[in-house]
Symmetry: C2
Subunit: 237 residues, 2 copies
């Protein structure tokens, strides 16, 4: 029994609550730790995936493609996130998973994960909550792309990333790294790389964000939230 899943258990517990036997059962799961290079596929869209994956270190996106190859990033995943919950119960994954940075990922055999859930109702319930929150985040993203202008979309995306990172104590000293190119930020907000660039520079000019390479600092999170029409309730943190 190793403790690679310790932080995952902590996450699950916030959706829980789990009792000690539940936690022990998760920690007793057979796990293989795998590493992926940056810019490499973890799961391909349409795969019938065998294992349940949890991101331990690094960043990953979940993304979909249109018929003519345009990309939409549907989630930016951070350490502690499950990467392919749907594949546990659905026949195939409707989206691909791409490692953005070098990433270490815990891989749990599908049958072990399913067995865990069916024998531990509290864990099943925590997974259900996770799925519900994931859907809620998706709905907010839909609102963001459907009804906000370019600057607000980018601001909102940044606010969400900050909020989720902070909830996991992954931001230290107010500075954080956004592990995305501007092209990818466009794919996450329904914009073009060029236009994302203009929006970022505009936001720097107006003092909404401070940016140096891919590391960001937010002078006033309140101001950024206002610019992005961001209210955090939908994250259920």
């Amino acid at each position: 029994v190793s403790d690679v899943l310790a932080s995952f258990v902590a996450q699950l517990d916030t959706y829980g609550p789990l009792d000690d036997s539940d936690k022990a059962a998760v920690l007793a799961l057979p796990v293989i730790v795998r590493t992926f290079l940056s810019e490499t596929y973890v799961v391909r869209q349409g795969d019938v995936e065998g294992a349940f994956l949890i991101l331990l270190r690094g960043f990953a996106t979940r993304q979909k493609l249109t018929g003519d190859g345009a990309r939409q990033i549907v989630s930016l995943d951070i350490p502690g996130d499950p990467l392919n919950l749907p594949s546990l119960f659905l026949s195939s994954v409707d989206h691909g998973v791409l490692a953005l940075t070098n990433a270490t990922i815990a891989s749990v055999p599908r049958q072990s994960a399913i067995h865990l859930l069916t024998t531990h109702p509290a864990i099943m319930q925590a997974f259900l909550k996770w799925a519900l929150v994931d859907a809620s985040i998706g709905r907010e993203a839909l609102l963001n792309q459907g009804r906000r202008d370019a600057q607000a979309r980018v601001a909102h995306f940044l606010c969400e990333h900050v909020a989720r990172m902070e909830a996991r104590n992954l931001i230290i000293g107010g500075v954080f790294t956004l592990p995305l190119t501007q092209e990818q930020l466009g794919d996450a907000t329904g914009l073009t790389a060029v236009h994302v660039n203009r929006m970022l520079n505009k936001m720097v000019a107006s003092g909404l964000i401070a940016q140096k390479g891919r590391s960001f600092k937010i002078p006033s999170i309140a101001a950024l939230r206002q610019a992005g029409d961001f209210r955090a309730q939908y994250l259920f943190l």
Copy 2:
């Protein structure tokens, strides 16, 4: 014990499978049947909702609002759909529910529903699958609004509605009613009512759809699917 929930059980079973005692337990749920007039709120965004609601007859949308009042429709719900699954386990609903037509809705006390799930793992699992499919549909909608042009968005939306209605045997003779104004169709696709109008007329002119008032007929579903870049896998029907 009435059978108002019979069709809901049938739906659940497709996500199941449920055994007879599971089904009996659902049917034994205390239910109040309520009716709502068209254009009337069933749940307001942010409500701490007491009851679990299932749409029995009519149509409803789930929708979110931006800070300055723009609306995004995140789901068009049809008979058999649960309307507020998140509120069972999350503290509040992140979106409102609006009856589009006169609607009859089954209302199950929250505690009864929760008790049902925690005592019947198979039902909990079916609800989890439901949540996963709902999230998958949300991701496809995000791709649709982020990366497809106006005509494709409308075509894709129509294809999805047809596919879901057909899966419940709610389309007879190839003609169906879209219970939305063009304004609402715009809110569902991230477009303006005016532009939706132009797209619909263009699609009629090119023979992709036949429309008379709010009733539609699709001459060639294959052609419409092509126009909307629609592949049905993500619905997991």
